[in-house]
Symmetry: C3
Subunit: 271 residues, 3 copies
């Protein structure tokens, strides 16, 4: 990807995704499953939720991309996540890691650190999660964004360097590092933080784009398309209640104009 | 059921269901639980989600019908499903089987085959699932409809003959076989395929109708009522986002007119 | 709390909650997770869903309140619930217990009875659940309200006396007992019974309020705020489909006027 990665390239990625309709294997948290599935369907992908250790490897083999999200982890799920990630890496299938709540408890942090060693293509998290996963002073407030995103960019860069993954650090402004010049994505809407599972759904969308683009382009496309849909959706809402449904409708009817109006990529951002 | 089964009979089944308010025991997949419960409530049934092996048999005993859906199966869940199905069959309680993703992995196919031996009253699935469960060449794309429904009708008939169940094969046109003359149900809307858990919810609705009608009539009633609600709901939507909510509202306010406008049953369909 | 506890006090509690943004640790049932999280976010709290025995104690330690709901219980979850409740009680962290379906099966009743011994601050349930947990003749119909609320108030008082908890008995009229003069809360809307997970979400809201008020005040605040939001939301709905989304929007934009219009507390109710 050049530094001039443009919204026209992102639109092209979305068209390719819709044409291919990739099968996205989700191992994600319980409250995010329904929303993630609906977001993927509205985007143009085909979701499946499959977590049993007895079948995750076989399912990776028939999928186009994998997303692993530790939001409601437990030992049998972590074991299946490790099997699935290992198989994806071995098969050259792209996989996206969402380290939900990394830093909140030792068990969770340890599970995240181990999964991050299994060669994810993209890691998507908020500042607290990325800083904790990078080994910086963890904060404890669970899924909360307790650090400012601009303080976490160096942690993101370090994590990208260590893991080889593209790191998508999301917050009021999103930041992508790894595999090229860092860049910021200005998109989304503050109301999105008041609706659960949207960050998780963004990770699933990122996985869908890895089926049709390399990790860095996939991260930009996911942030821009999902953020633009969220911004357009929020403009139709009086509160967060209908935001997931409106977001799905905006994804379903996404246009180049909506994308251009609500998403802007800035290479080499200050900070 | 005679071949002249009419929408007036279906309306009568819905009235009986609303009067009885059957308790429907759901052992279903995580992303479908919330939607299935809301659909059952809107329909007029009483849902419960109970999956622990320690209590499923006791819960079958107080329920009016059972639905088992393997969408997010794992060994402890499959063990509980087997206990529940065995108890339902022993007690003469009707139960509906939804073999989600049958054919996608060997583990899933094996679990589905074993459950199908436990005397389900209705099996509801898409073409890929029904063909795989019938032992025809499985396709692998998970929950995707990768075969045309009209190619799967002979598999459905074979499955009905082998299991003794009524088989409801759903797709662009739905097809019911077993226990009488095969018939097609023309209803629903293409947008429904872009909203997760609607097929699963249809299986739950089928279970609710088995509490007030024999399996074949229950299958027709479920397909017609649910499909008509979906079609009426889709007409109010600009995308799939609000479809589950609108579908619940249409179920809640279903009228004979909506049913007649959006559902048509055709006995002895060609193919 | 005096018997003259007023809606102005409840409004003040909501303002304090929004200012503090308490982290609420939820161990709840699968179908309620997404709805509970969205309700808590719209209210102004910060939700987390954490259930692994390996981390629940650590997560209790960083949370402001805990809610335990046995809707989809199983042995590993019950073990984690016991660890979390024990830790909360030891640390003086408030916790709320929702004994979903208590009385429906022996396994469920036993689990509920054992959890109720672990010093919950508030117990929130319907008449069948509260009566069963109090040791009165259990009814069997699962999550159904099979007893009239006014028959269950003595069971609620006995349960409050035995456990030391405030008991919030919910139904057409809600009833709070324990820690002071019993009082009724008149609020809500009949349509709420046709939307899943709203009772569970109310328990989560109660936990959020325990982070800023003692248990009795928290129970009143939760019932009044949630019920008023539900009543205002129902007035915007043609059926139950959009009720959870509208309820979130009403929580998000709650005003003293909405609270006053839709909630009324009556001390020393007859019966």
């Amino acid at each position: 990807m050049s530094d001039r990665f443009l919204l026209t390239d992102i639109w092209s990625a979305l068209e390719d995704l819709r044409a291919r309709r990739p099968l996205v294997h989700n191992i994600t948290n319980y409250p995010a499953m329904n929303t993630s599935a609906n977001v993927l369907l509205a985007l143009g992908a085909s979701p499946a939720m499959v977590h049993a250790a007895e079948e995750v490897e076989d399912f990776v083999a028939i999928s186009d991309a994998l997303v692993i999200n530790i939001g409601t982890l437990s030992p049998p799920w972590v074991a299946a996540m490790q099997k699935a990630a290992t198989r994806a890496a071995a098969d050259g299938k792209p996989w996206v890691f969402d380290p939900v709540g990394c830093g909140a408890t030792p068990y969770r942090t340890q599970a995240a650190v181990e999964l991050a060693r299994l060669a994810p293509d993209v890691i998507r998290g908020n500042a607290a999660e990325i800083m904790s996963l990078a080994g910086k002073a963890g904060t404890g407030k669970g899924i909360e964004l307790v650090s400012r995103a601009d303080e976490a960019t160096s942690a993101a860069a370090a994590l990208a360097a260590r893991t080889g993954a593209v790191v998508a650090l999301t917050g009021a402004v999103d930041y992508v590092t790894g595999g090229g010049t860092p860049a910021a994505v200005h998109t989304g809407h503050a109301l999105m933080a008041l609706s659960t599972a949207l960050g998780c759904s963004l990770s699933a969308v990122t996985a869908a784009f890895t089926a049709v683009r390399p990790p860095r382009e996939a991260a930009f496309a996911a942030l821009a398309v999902f953020g633009a849909a969220g911004a357009a959706a929020a403009a139709r809402c009086r509160g967060p209640g209908h935001l997931p449904a409106e977001l799905c409708d905006e994804l379903y009817s996404m246009t180049p104009e909506t994308l251009r109006r609500h998403a802007r990529i800035e290479a080499n951002p200050a900070g």
